[in-house]
Protein backbone atom coordinates (compact mmCIF):
# COMPACT_ATOMS: atom_id res chain seq x y z
CA UNK A 1 0.00 0.00 0.00
CA UNK A 2 1.53 3.32 -1.03
CA UNK A 3 1.12 5.77 1.81
CA UNK A 4 0.10 8.64 -0.40
CA UNK A 5 -2.20 6.76 -2.78
CA UNK A 6 -5.94 6.76 -3.35
CA UNK A 7 -7.32 4.15 -0.95
CA UNK A 8 -10.98 4.24 -1.84
CA UNK A 9 -12.50 0.77 -2.04
CA UNK A 10 -15.75 -1.04 -1.21
CA UNK A 11 -16.71 -2.70 2.04
CA UNK A 12 -16.97 -6.27 0.74
CA UNK A 13 -13.44 -6.17 -0.63
CA UNK A 14 -11.93 -4.37 2.35
CA UNK A 15 -13.42 -6.83 4.83
CA UNK A 16 -12.54 -9.82 2.69
CA UNK A 17 -8.97 -8.71 2.19
CA UNK A 18 -8.10 -7.63 5.71
CA UNK A 19 -10.47 -9.24 8.23
CA UNK A 20 -9.26 -12.81 7.97
CA UNK A 21 -10.21 -15.78 10.17
CA UNK A 22 -8.23 -15.69 13.43
CA UNK A 23 -7.18 -12.08 12.98
CA UNK A 24 -6.82 -9.67 15.89
CA UNK A 25 -9.41 -6.94 15.46
CA UNK A 26 -10.55 -3.75 17.15
CA UNK A 27 -13.52 -1.58 16.27
CA UNK A 28 -14.16 2.08 17.05
CA UNK A 29 -17.04 3.82 18.76
CA UNK A 30 -18.48 3.51 22.26
CA UNK A 31 -21.68 1.71 23.40
CA UNK A 32 -24.34 3.20 21.08
CA UNK A 33 -22.27 5.77 19.24
CA UNK A 34 -20.17 5.63 16.09
CA UNK A 35 -19.70 1.85 16.02
CA UNK A 36 -18.65 0.81 12.48
CA UNK A 37 -21.87 -1.19 12.17
CA UNK A 38 -21.89 -1.57 8.38
CA UNK A 39 -18.49 -3.22 8.65
CA UNK A 40 -19.61 -5.33 11.63
CA UNK A 41 -22.57 -6.60 9.58
CA UNK A 42 -20.29 -7.30 6.63
CA UNK A 43 -17.94 -9.35 8.83
CA UNK A 44 -20.94 -11.33 10.08
CA UNK A 45 -22.24 -11.73 6.54
CA UNK A 46 -18.88 -13.06 5.35
CA UNK A 47 -18.96 -15.44 8.33
CA UNK A 48 -15.42 -14.66 9.41
CA UNK A 49 -14.73 -16.67 12.55
CA UNK A 50 -12.22 -17.16 15.32
CA UNK A 51 -11.52 -13.43 15.68
CA UNK A 52 -9.54 -12.13 18.66
CA UNK A 53 -11.36 -8.90 19.54
CA UNK A 54 -10.08 -5.97 21.61
CA UNK A 55 -12.71 -3.67 23.08
CA UNK A 56 -13.01 -1.00 25.73
CA UNK A 57 -16.78 -0.30 25.76
CA UNK A 58 -17.54 -0.74 22.10
CA UNK A 59 -21.02 -1.97 22.90
CA UNK A 60 -23.46 -2.76 20.12
CA UNK A 61 -20.86 -3.89 17.61
CA UNK A 62 -19.24 -6.25 20.10
CA UNK A 63 -22.52 -7.87 21.06
CA UNK A 64 -23.49 -8.53 17.45
CA UNK A 65 -20.07 -9.96 16.53
CA UNK A 66 -20.15 -12.20 19.60
CA UNK A 67 -23.74 -13.22 18.97
CA UNK A 68 -23.02 -14.18 15.39
CA UNK A 69 -20.21 -16.46 16.52
CA UNK A 70 -17.38 -14.50 14.94
CA UNK A 71 -15.40 -14.06 18.16
CA UNK A 72 -13.16 -16.65 19.82
CA UNK A 73 -11.35 -14.44 22.31
CA UNK A 74 -12.30 -11.10 23.78
CA UNK A 75 -10.20 -8.66 25.80
CA UNK A 76 -12.66 -6.10 27.09
CA UNK A 77 -13.51 -3.50 29.73
CA UNK A 78 -17.30 -3.24 29.45
CA UNK A 79 -19.90 -5.36 27.72
CA UNK A 80 -22.90 -3.06 27.83
CA UNK A 81 -24.58 -0.27 25.90
CA UNK A 82 -25.97 1.87 28.72
CA UNK A 83 -29.74 2.08 29.05
CA UNK A 84 -30.52 -0.28 26.15
CA UNK A 85 -28.47 -3.19 27.51
CA UNK A 86 -26.89 -2.72 30.94
CA UNK A 87 -25.09 -5.96 30.17
CA UNK A 88 -24.80 -6.94 26.51
CA UNK A 89 -27.10 -9.91 26.07
CA UNK A 90 -25.31 -12.17 23.60
CA UNK A 91 -22.01 -11.30 25.24
CA UNK A 92 -23.39 -12.42 28.61
CA UNK A 93 -24.73 -15.67 27.17
CA UNK A 94 -21.49 -16.43 25.36
CA UNK A 95 -19.41 -15.89 28.51
CA UNK A 96 -21.76 -17.86 30.74
CA UNK A 97 -21.86 -20.70 28.20
CA UNK A 98 -18.08 -20.48 27.80
CA UNK A 99 -18.36 -20.02 24.06
CA UNK A 100 -15.69 -17.34 24.13
CA UNK A 101 -12.57 -16.76 26.17
CA UNK A 102 -12.66 -13.44 27.95
CA UNK A 103 -10.20 -11.30 29.83
CA UNK A 104 -11.18 -8.19 31.82
CA UNK A 105 -9.50 -4.81 31.99
CA UNK A 106 -10.78 -1.34 32.81
CA UNK A 107 -11.70 1.22 30.17
CA UNK A 108 -8.62 3.29 30.90
CA UNK A 109 -6.40 0.24 30.74
CA UNK A 110 -7.76 -0.81 27.35
CA UNK A 111 -7.34 2.75 26.09
CA UNK A 112 -3.76 2.87 27.38
CA UNK A 113 -3.08 -0.44 25.68
CA UNK A 114 -4.14 1.02 22.33
CA UNK A 115 -2.17 4.17 23.08
CA UNK A 116 0.95 2.10 23.84
CA UNK A 117 0.46 0.31 20.52
CA UNK A 118 0.12 3.62 18.70
CA UNK A 119 3.25 4.97 20.41
CA UNK A 120 5.39 1.96 19.54
CA UNK A 121 6.17 1.00 23.15
CA UNK A 122 5.46 -2.32 24.89
CA UNK A 123 3.42 -0.98 27.84
CA UNK A 124 2.06 2.04 29.66
CA UNK A 125 1.67 2.60 33.41
CA UNK A 126 -1.43 3.46 35.42
CA UNK A 127 -2.49 3.42 39.04
CA UNK A 128 -5.86 1.91 38.18
CA UNK A 129 -6.89 -1.50 39.57
CA UNK A 130 -4.22 -1.93 42.26
CA UNK A 131 -5.63 -4.29 44.87
CA UNK A 132 -8.42 -5.61 42.61
CA UNK A 133 -9.17 -8.86 40.84
CA UNK A 134 -8.42 -7.24 37.50
CA UNK A 135 -4.83 -7.82 38.57
CA UNK A 136 -5.29 -11.22 40.16
CA UNK A 137 -7.63 -13.01 37.77
CA UNK A 138 -6.42 -13.70 34.27
CA UNK A 139 -8.79 -14.82 31.55
CA UNK A 140 -6.11 -15.99 29.14
CA UNK A 141 -3.89 -18.57 30.79
CA UNK A 142 -0.11 -18.41 30.99
CA UNK A 143 -0.01 -21.52 28.79
CA UNK A 144 -2.09 -19.92 26.06
CA UNK A 145 0.07 -16.82 26.33
CA UNK A 146 3.24 -18.85 25.88
CA UNK A 147 1.82 -20.59 22.84
CA UNK A 148 0.35 -17.52 21.16
CA UNK A 149 2.96 -15.11 19.81
CA UNK A 150 0.34 -12.41 19.18
CA UNK A 151 -0.59 -12.31 22.90
CA UNK A 152 1.85 -10.90 25.50
CA UNK A 153 3.25 -13.32 28.05
CA UNK A 154 1.56 -11.56 30.96
CA UNK A 155 -1.84 -9.91 31.41
CA UNK A 156 -0.20 -7.03 33.27
CA UNK A 157 2.72 -6.36 35.58
CA UNK A 158 2.78 -4.52 38.91
CA UNK A 159 5.97 -2.47 39.21
CA UNK A 160 7.35 -0.65 42.24
CA UNK A 161 7.96 2.98 41.33
CA UNK A 162 11.62 3.09 40.22
CA UNK A 163 11.68 6.80 41.09
CA UNK A 164 11.15 6.22 44.82
CA UNK A 165 7.98 7.93 45.93
CA UNK A 166 7.98 10.42 43.02
CA UNK A 167 4.47 11.77 42.43
CA UNK A 168 3.46 10.28 45.76
CA UNK A 169 3.23 6.93 43.97
CA UNK A 170 4.40 3.68 45.45
CA UNK A 171 3.73 1.39 42.50
CA UNK A 172 2.02 1.22 39.15
CA UNK A 173 0.31 -1.31 36.94
CA UNK A 174 1.90 -1.78 33.51
CA UNK A 175 -0.57 -2.81 30.81
CA UNK A 176 0.76 -4.34 27.57
CA UNK A 177 0.44 -2.66 24.17
CA UNK A 178 -2.10 -3.81 21.60
CA UNK A 179 -1.33 -3.67 17.89
CA UNK A 180 -4.44 -5.11 16.22
CA UNK A 181 -4.04 -6.70 12.83
CA UNK A 182 -7.00 -4.57 11.78
CA UNK A 183 -8.86 -1.63 13.25
CA UNK A 184 -12.15 -0.47 11.73
CA UNK A 185 -13.56 2.94 12.56
CA UNK A 186 -16.47 4.98 11.28
CA UNK A 187 -15.97 8.73 10.94
CA UNK A 188 -17.97 11.70 9.71
CA UNK A 189 -15.51 12.73 7.01
CA UNK A 190 -12.57 11.12 5.26
CA UNK A 191 -10.72 11.83 2.05
CA UNK A 192 -9.42 9.52 -0.67
CA UNK A 193 -6.04 9.13 1.01
CA UNK A 194 -7.53 8.41 4.43
CA UNK A 195 -7.32 11.68 6.31
CA UNK A 196 -10.07 11.49 8.96
CA UNK A 197 -12.17 14.09 10.68
CA UNK A 198 -14.24 13.01 13.67
CA UNK A 199 -16.88 15.39 15.03
CA UNK A 200 -17.79 15.13 18.69
CA UNK A 201 -16.00 12.80 21.08
CA UNK A 202 -13.26 10.67 19.57
CA UNK A 203 -13.53 7.95 22.28
CA UNK A 204 -10.40 5.81 21.70
CA UNK A 205 -10.73 5.71 17.92
CA UNK A 206 -7.57 7.68 17.24
CA UNK A 207 -5.41 5.39 19.37
CA UNK A 208 -7.07 2.26 17.96
CA UNK A 209 -6.47 3.54 14.44
CA UNK A 210 -2.83 4.41 14.96
CA UNK A 211 -2.05 1.15 16.79
CA UNK A 212 -3.34 -1.02 13.95
CA UNK A 213 -1.31 -2.79 11.31
CA UNK A 214 -4.21 -2.19 8.92
CA UNK A 215 -6.76 0.61 9.25
CA UNK A 216 -10.12 0.45 7.51
CA UNK A 217 -12.11 3.68 7.55
CA UNK A 218 -15.80 3.87 6.78
CA UNK A 219 -17.21 7.37 6.47
CA UNK A 220 -20.41 9.37 6.11
CA UNK A 221 -18.83 11.82 3.68
CA UNK A 222 -16.05 10.88 1.31
CA UNK A 223 -13.96 13.62 -0.25
CA UNK A 224 -12.07 12.75 -3.38
CA UNK A 225 -9.97 15.90 -3.12
CA UNK A 226 -7.90 17.71 -0.48
CA UNK A 227 -10.78 19.67 1.05
CA UNK A 228 -9.99 18.46 4.58
CA UNK A 229 -6.61 20.16 4.37
CA UNK A 230 -8.37 23.52 4.66
CA UNK A 231 -8.82 22.89 8.38
CA UNK A 232 -6.08 20.49 9.47
CA UNK A 233 -6.62 21.20 13.18
CA UNK A 234 -9.80 19.14 12.97
CA UNK A 235 -8.23 16.07 11.28
CA UNK A 236 -7.32 13.67 14.05
CA UNK A 237 -5.93 10.87 11.90
CA UNK A 238 -3.57 11.68 9.04
CA UNK A 239 -3.65 9.49 5.94
CA UNK A 240 -0.31 7.81 6.65
CA UNK A 241 -2.14 5.38 8.97
CA UNK A 242 -4.88 4.43 6.51
CA UNK A 243 -5.18 1.38 4.27
CA UNK A 244 -8.78 1.39 3.03
CA UNK A 245 -11.43 4.11 2.79
CA UNK A 246 -15.05 3.15 2.22
CA UNK A 247 -17.97 5.50 1.71
CA UNK A 248 -20.98 4.23 3.71
CA UNK A 249 -23.67 6.76 4.56
CA UNK A 250 -25.37 5.68 7.81
CA UNK A 251 -22.39 3.37 8.34
CA UNK A 252 -22.81 3.58 12.13
CA UNK A 253 -26.55 2.81 12.05
CA UNK A 254 -28.25 1.70 14.33
CA UNK A 255 -25.73 3.48 16.59
CA UNK A 256 -25.43 7.25 16.47
CA UNK A 257 -23.08 9.49 14.49
CA UNK A 258 -22.80 12.95 16.06
CA UNK A 259 -23.90 15.72 13.73
CA UNK A 260 -25.40 13.23 11.26
CA UNK A 261 -27.97 11.02 12.99
CA UNK A 262 -28.99 9.67 16.37
CA UNK A 263 -29.15 6.06 17.50
CA UNK A 264 -32.36 4.31 16.50
CA UNK A 265 -34.23 3.40 19.70
CA UNK A 266 -36.66 1.23 17.75
CA UNK A 267 -33.87 -0.89 16.33
CA UNK A 268 -31.92 -1.12 19.58
CA UNK A 269 -34.99 -2.11 21.61
CA UNK A 270 -35.97 -4.70 19.03
CA UNK A 271 -32.41 -6.01 19.10
CA UNK A 272 -32.49 -6.35 22.91
CA UNK A 273 -35.78 -8.18 22.73
CA UNK A 274 -34.61 -10.64 20.09
CA UNK A 275 -31.16 -11.13 21.61
CA UNK A 276 -32.74 -12.62 24.71
CA UNK A 277 -33.80 -15.87 22.98
CA UNK A 278 -31.56 -18.00 20.80
CA UNK A 279 -34.24 -18.68 18.23
CA UNK A 280 -35.34 -15.08 17.98
CA UNK A 281 -31.74 -14.01 17.70
CA UNK A 282 -31.17 -16.40 14.80
CA UNK A 283 -34.18 -14.79 13.11
CA UNK A 284 -32.65 -11.38 13.77
CA UNK A 285 -29.36 -12.42 12.20
CA UNK A 286 -31.12 -13.97 9.20
CA UNK A 287 -33.44 -11.07 8.49
CA UNK A 288 -31.20 -8.14 9.30
CA UNK A 289 -27.81 -9.42 8.20
CA UNK A 290 -27.53 -12.71 6.28
CA UNK A 291 -30.47 -12.04 3.97
CA UNK A 292 -29.26 -8.55 3.25
CA UNK A 293 -26.68 -7.96 0.56
CA UNK A 294 -25.37 -4.71 1.92
CA UNK A 295 -25.88 -2.01 4.50
CA UNK A 296 -28.03 -0.19 1.96
CA UNK A 297 -30.37 -3.16 1.91
CA UNK A 298 -30.72 -2.98 5.66
CA UNK A 299 -31.41 0.76 5.52
CA UNK A 300 -34.03 0.22 2.84
CA UNK A 301 -35.86 -2.26 5.02
CA UNK A 302 -35.69 0.13 7.99
CA UNK A 303 -37.34 2.69 5.80
CA UNK A 304 -37.20 6.41 5.23
CA UNK A 305 -39.47 7.39 8.08
CA UNK A 306 -37.32 5.91 10.81
CA UNK A 307 -34.18 7.34 9.24
CA UNK A 308 -35.86 10.73 9.14
CA UNK A 309 -36.80 10.44 12.80
CA UNK A 310 -33.19 10.02 13.82
CA UNK A 311 -31.78 12.74 11.57
CA UNK A 312 -29.65 15.07 13.70
CA UNK A 313 -30.61 18.69 14.29
CA UNK A 314 -27.74 20.54 12.70
CA UNK A 315 -27.31 22.87 15.68
CA UNK A 316 -27.32 20.11 18.29
CA UNK A 317 -25.82 17.08 16.57
CA UNK A 318 -28.60 14.75 17.76
CA UNK A 319 -32.35 14.41 17.13
CA UNK A 320 -33.94 16.63 19.75
CA UNK A 321 -37.48 15.41 19.12
CA UNK A 322 -36.69 11.71 18.89
CA UNK A 323 -39.00 9.57 21.00
CA UNK A 324 -36.65 7.44 23.06
CA UNK A 325 -39.12 5.93 25.53
Amino acid sequence: MDINSNKITNLKDAVHQYVTPGCHLSIGGFTINRNPMAAVYEIIRQEIKDIHLYAHSNGQGVDELVGAGCIARLEIAYGGTGKFMSTCIRFRKAVEEKKIQIEDYSNYQMTLRFLAGSMGIPFLPTRSSLGTDIIHKWGLSRELRQDTPKVPDQKLVVLDNPFGNWCDTKRVVLVPAINPDVTIIHVQQADYRGNCRIDGLTFADVEQAKAAKVLIITCEDLLDDDYLKNDPDRNQIPFIHADAVVHIPYGAYPTACFGCYDYDPVYLKEYSRMAKEDILFQTYLDNNIYKKNSHRDLLNSVGRERLENIMADKNRGYAKKLDRR
Partner: protein, 253 residues
Protein backbone atom coordinates in the same frame (compact mmCIF):
# COMPACT_ATOMS: atom_id res chain seq x y z
CA UNK B 1 -45.87 15.34 47.78
CA UNK B 2 -45.80 11.65 46.80
CA UNK B 3 -42.51 10.30 45.51
CA UNK B 4 -41.02 7.04 44.30
CA UNK B 5 -38.02 5.33 45.85
CA UNK B 6 -36.06 5.99 42.68
CA UNK B 7 -36.75 9.71 43.06
CA UNK B 8 -35.71 9.55 46.70
CA UNK B 9 -32.46 7.77 45.82
CA UNK B 10 -31.66 10.22 43.07
CA UNK B 11 -32.22 13.23 45.30
CA UNK B 12 -30.36 11.77 48.26
CA UNK B 13 -27.32 11.26 46.05
CA UNK B 14 -27.74 14.71 44.51
CA UNK B 15 -27.63 16.29 47.98
CA UNK B 16 -24.15 14.83 48.46
CA UNK B 17 -22.84 16.89 45.56
CA UNK B 18 -21.45 20.34 46.33
CA UNK B 19 -20.57 23.40 44.38
CA UNK B 20 -17.01 23.11 43.04
CA UNK B 21 -17.33 19.33 42.68
CA UNK B 22 -16.59 17.78 39.33
CA UNK B 23 -19.09 14.96 39.04
CA UNK B 24 -18.16 11.82 37.14
CA UNK B 25 -21.29 9.99 36.18
CA UNK B 26 -22.26 6.83 34.39
CA UNK B 27 -25.54 5.88 32.75
CA UNK B 28 -29.02 6.01 34.24
CA UNK B 29 -29.69 7.09 37.79
CA UNK B 30 -26.14 8.34 38.38
CA UNK B 31 -26.44 10.73 35.44
CA UNK B 32 -29.81 11.86 36.71
CA UNK B 33 -28.41 12.49 40.19
CA UNK B 34 -25.66 14.64 38.71
CA UNK B 35 -28.23 16.59 36.67
CA UNK B 36 -30.43 16.99 39.74
CA UNK B 37 -27.54 18.38 41.81
CA UNK B 38 -26.71 20.85 39.06
CA UNK B 39 -30.32 21.98 38.80
CA UNK B 40 -31.13 22.02 42.53
CA UNK B 41 -28.40 22.28 45.13
CA UNK B 42 -25.03 22.62 43.40
CA UNK B 43 -25.42 24.83 40.33
CA UNK B 44 -21.65 25.40 40.12
CA UNK B 45 -20.86 21.69 40.03
CA UNK B 46 -19.44 20.38 36.76
CA UNK B 47 -20.64 17.23 35.00
CA UNK B 48 -18.02 15.04 33.45
CA UNK B 49 -18.05 11.82 31.42
CA UNK B 50 -15.42 9.13 30.97
CA UNK B 51 -15.90 9.34 27.21
CA UNK B 52 -14.24 12.75 27.21
CA UNK B 53 -16.91 15.47 27.52
CA UNK B 54 -16.82 17.95 30.35
CA UNK B 55 -19.43 20.51 31.42
CA UNK B 56 -22.01 19.29 28.90
CA UNK B 57 -25.17 21.36 28.62
CA UNK B 58 -27.43 18.27 28.94
CA UNK B 59 -30.50 19.88 27.46
CA UNK B 60 -31.78 16.30 27.09
CA UNK B 61 -31.09 13.24 29.19
CA UNK B 62 -28.40 10.96 27.70
CA UNK B 63 -29.05 7.21 27.66
CA UNK B 64 -25.39 6.26 27.64
CA UNK B 65 -22.14 8.03 28.44
CA UNK B 66 -21.44 8.07 24.72
CA UNK B 67 -24.82 9.59 23.83
CA UNK B 68 -24.43 12.50 21.40
CA UNK B 69 -26.41 14.59 23.91
CA UNK B 70 -23.31 14.92 26.08
CA UNK B 71 -21.30 16.32 23.15
CA UNK B 72 -23.57 19.31 22.67
CA UNK B 73 -22.32 22.56 24.21
CA UNK B 74 -19.72 21.00 26.46
CA UNK B 75 -16.63 22.97 27.42
CA UNK B 76 -14.37 20.45 25.72
CA UNK B 77 -14.89 17.28 23.69
CA UNK B 78 -11.96 14.90 23.75
CA UNK B 79 -11.72 11.14 24.37
CA UNK B 80 -11.20 8.48 27.01
CA UNK B 81 -7.50 9.22 27.46
CA UNK B 82 -8.13 12.80 28.47
CA UNK B 83 -11.05 11.91 30.73
CA UNK B 84 -9.24 9.27 32.75
CA UNK B 85 -6.06 11.34 32.91
CA UNK B 86 -8.14 14.12 34.47
CA UNK B 87 -9.19 11.67 37.19
CA UNK B 88 -5.75 10.14 37.74
CA UNK B 89 -4.14 13.60 37.81
CA UNK B 90 -4.13 14.39 41.52
CA UNK B 91 -4.56 18.14 40.97
CA UNK B 92 -7.87 17.75 39.13
CA UNK B 93 -8.71 14.34 40.64
CA UNK B 94 -9.01 15.97 44.08
CA UNK B 95 -12.11 17.81 42.85
CA UNK B 96 -13.84 14.80 41.36
CA UNK B 97 -16.64 12.85 42.94
CA UNK B 98 -17.58 9.65 41.13
CA UNK B 99 -21.03 8.11 41.11
CA UNK B 100 -20.99 4.34 40.68
CA UNK B 101 -23.26 1.31 40.84
CA UNK B 102 -22.49 -2.40 41.15
CA UNK B 103 -23.88 -5.91 41.50
CA UNK B 104 -22.21 -6.51 44.86
CA UNK B 105 -20.66 -4.41 47.62
CA UNK B 106 -18.79 -5.38 50.79
CA UNK B 107 -18.36 -3.64 54.14
CA UNK B 108 -15.32 -1.70 52.88
CA UNK B 109 -17.17 -0.41 49.84
CA UNK B 110 -15.38 -2.66 47.36
CA UNK B 111 -17.53 -3.33 44.30
CA UNK B 112 -18.19 -6.24 41.98
CA UNK B 113 -19.61 -5.55 38.55
CA UNK B 114 -17.98 -8.48 36.74
CA UNK B 115 -19.26 -11.96 37.71
CA UNK B 116 -21.29 -13.99 40.18
CA UNK B 117 -19.55 -17.28 40.80
CA UNK B 118 -16.11 -18.25 39.66
CA UNK B 119 -14.38 -15.95 37.18
CA UNK B 120 -13.58 -18.84 34.85
CA UNK B 121 -16.97 -20.55 35.32
CA UNK B 122 -19.36 -17.69 36.03
CA UNK B 123 -22.96 -18.24 37.05
CA UNK B 124 -23.82 -14.72 35.98
CA UNK B 125 -21.76 -12.42 33.86
CA UNK B 126 -22.16 -8.63 34.17
CA UNK B 127 -20.82 -5.84 32.01
CA UNK B 128 -17.44 -5.62 33.76
CA UNK B 129 -15.58 -2.58 35.00
CA UNK B 130 -15.97 -0.10 32.20
CA UNK B 131 -14.52 3.01 33.79
CA UNK B 132 -15.68 2.08 37.30
CA UNK B 133 -12.42 0.54 38.47
CA UNK B 134 -10.54 3.57 37.15
CA UNK B 135 -12.85 6.03 38.88
CA UNK B 136 -12.80 4.11 42.15
CA UNK B 137 -8.99 3.94 41.94
CA UNK B 138 -8.40 7.62 41.19
CA UNK B 139 -10.90 10.16 42.45
CA UNK B 140 -11.28 11.92 45.80
CA UNK B 141 -14.57 10.28 46.76
CA UNK B 142 -17.30 8.08 45.34
CA UNK B 143 -21.04 7.78 45.86
CA UNK B 144 -22.41 4.31 45.21
CA UNK B 145 -25.95 3.39 44.21
CA UNK B 146 -27.11 -0.07 45.36
CA UNK B 147 -30.36 -1.97 45.69
CA UNK B 148 -30.77 -3.12 49.29
CA UNK B 149 -30.63 -6.90 48.94
CA UNK B 150 -28.82 -9.63 50.87
CA UNK B 151 -27.25 -11.02 47.70
CA UNK B 152 -25.83 -7.60 46.90
CA UNK B 153 -24.41 -6.60 50.31
CA UNK B 154 -21.91 -9.45 50.57
CA UNK B 155 -19.49 -10.56 53.24
CA UNK B 156 -17.19 -11.60 50.45
CA UNK B 157 -17.32 -10.42 46.85
CA UNK B 158 -17.16 -12.94 44.06
CA UNK B 159 -14.87 -10.60 42.14
CA UNK B 160 -13.38 -7.28 43.25
CA UNK B 161 -13.85 -5.00 40.25
CA UNK B 162 -13.55 -1.52 41.77
CA UNK B 163 -11.54 -0.76 44.90
CA UNK B 164 -13.19 0.69 47.99
CA UNK B 165 -11.09 0.60 51.16
CA UNK B 166 -9.91 -2.92 50.17
CA UNK B 167 -9.37 -4.76 53.48
CA UNK B 168 -9.47 -1.75 55.77
CA UNK B 169 -7.44 1.15 57.19
CA UNK B 170 -4.29 1.96 55.22
CA UNK B 171 -4.98 -0.72 52.61
CA UNK B 172 -5.47 1.67 49.68
CA UNK B 173 -2.18 3.36 50.42
CA UNK B 174 -0.42 0.04 50.90
CA UNK B 175 -1.74 -1.19 47.55
CA UNK B 176 -0.44 1.97 45.90
CA UNK B 177 -3.80 3.57 45.15
CA UNK B 178 -4.36 7.30 45.07
CA UNK B 179 -7.70 8.90 45.83
CA UNK B 180 -9.99 8.85 48.77
CA UNK B 181 -12.39 5.93 48.50
CA UNK B 182 -16.13 5.51 48.97
CA UNK B 183 -18.02 8.28 50.71
CA UNK B 184 -21.68 7.23 50.66
CA UNK B 185 -23.80 4.27 49.63
CA UNK B 186 -27.30 5.26 48.57
CA UNK B 187 -29.88 2.47 48.47
CA UNK B 188 -33.64 2.21 48.12
CA UNK B 189 -33.88 2.08 51.94
CA UNK B 190 -31.22 4.37 53.32
CA UNK B 191 -27.74 5.86 53.21
CA UNK B 192 -24.49 4.40 54.48
CA UNK B 193 -21.25 6.21 55.21
CA UNK B 194 -17.79 4.88 56.14
CA UNK B 195 -16.12 5.19 59.52
CA UNK B 196 -13.03 7.41 59.50
CA UNK B 197 -11.07 4.97 61.67
CA UNK B 198 -12.23 1.48 60.68
CA UNK B 199 -13.16 2.31 57.05
CA UNK B 200 -16.21 0.12 57.59
CA UNK B 201 -19.66 0.96 56.36
CA UNK B 202 -22.19 2.25 58.91
CA UNK B 203 -25.79 3.31 58.61
CA UNK B 204 -26.13 7.05 58.39
CA UNK B 205 -29.76 7.43 57.46
CA UNK B 206 -32.97 5.52 56.76
CA UNK B 207 -35.85 6.69 54.66
CA UNK B 208 -39.24 7.59 56.14
CA UNK B 209 -41.15 4.37 56.78
CA UNK B 210 -37.99 2.23 56.91
CA UNK B 211 -36.23 1.11 60.11
CA UNK B 212 -32.53 0.40 60.56
CA UNK B 213 -33.50 -3.21 61.26
CA UNK B 214 -35.24 -3.45 57.87
CA UNK B 215 -31.97 -2.45 56.30
CA UNK B 216 -29.89 -4.93 58.29
CA UNK B 217 -32.27 -7.70 57.24
CA UNK B 218 -31.34 -6.95 53.65
CA UNK B 219 -27.58 -7.26 54.07
CA UNK B 220 -25.35 -10.28 54.47
CA UNK B 221 -22.98 -8.46 56.82
CA UNK B 222 -23.74 -6.43 59.92
CA UNK B 223 -23.10 -2.69 60.16
CA UNK B 224 -23.26 -0.17 62.99
CA UNK B 225 -26.70 1.49 63.11
CA UNK B 226 -26.13 3.61 66.22
CA UNK B 227 -25.42 6.77 64.27
CA UNK B 228 -28.45 6.56 62.00
CA UNK B 229 -31.25 9.09 61.72
CA UNK B 230 -34.22 9.52 59.43
CA UNK B 231 -33.47 11.07 56.05
CA UNK B 232 -35.50 14.12 55.09
CA UNK B 233 -38.00 13.29 52.36
CA UNK B 234 -37.77 15.09 49.02
CA UNK B 235 -39.06 18.63 49.08
CA UNK B 236 -41.71 19.64 46.54
CA UNK B 237 -39.14 21.92 44.93
CA UNK B 238 -36.65 19.06 44.56
CA UNK B 239 -39.29 16.80 43.07
CA UNK B 240 -40.57 19.39 40.65
CA UNK B 241 -37.12 20.22 39.31
CA UNK B 242 -36.20 16.55 39.07
CA UNK B 243 -39.35 15.61 37.20
CA UNK B 244 -39.85 18.63 34.99
CA UNK B 245 -36.32 19.78 34.28
CA UNK B 246 -34.13 16.70 34.53
CA UNK B 247 -36.26 13.86 33.19
CA UNK B 248 -39.51 15.19 31.70
CA UNK B 249 -39.79 12.15 29.39
CA UNK B 250 -39.35 9.85 32.42
CA UNK B 251 -36.61 7.93 30.62
CA UNK B 252 -34.93 6.95 33.88
CA UNK B 253 -37.50 7.75 36.60
Amino acid sequence: MEYTLKEMMTLVAAREIRNNDIVFCGTGISMLAAMAAKNINAPQSVIFFETGAIDSKLEDLPLAVADSRIMYQSSSNAGLLEAFATMQNQITGAHIVGILGAAQIDIYGNLNSTVIGDYDEPDVRFSGSGGACDVASFVSRTIIFMTQEKRKFKTRLDYLTSPGYLDGPGARKKAGLPGGGPDKVVTNMGVMAFDDVTCQMYLKGYYPGITPENILENMEFHIDISRASEVLPPTPEELTLLRETCDPQRLIL
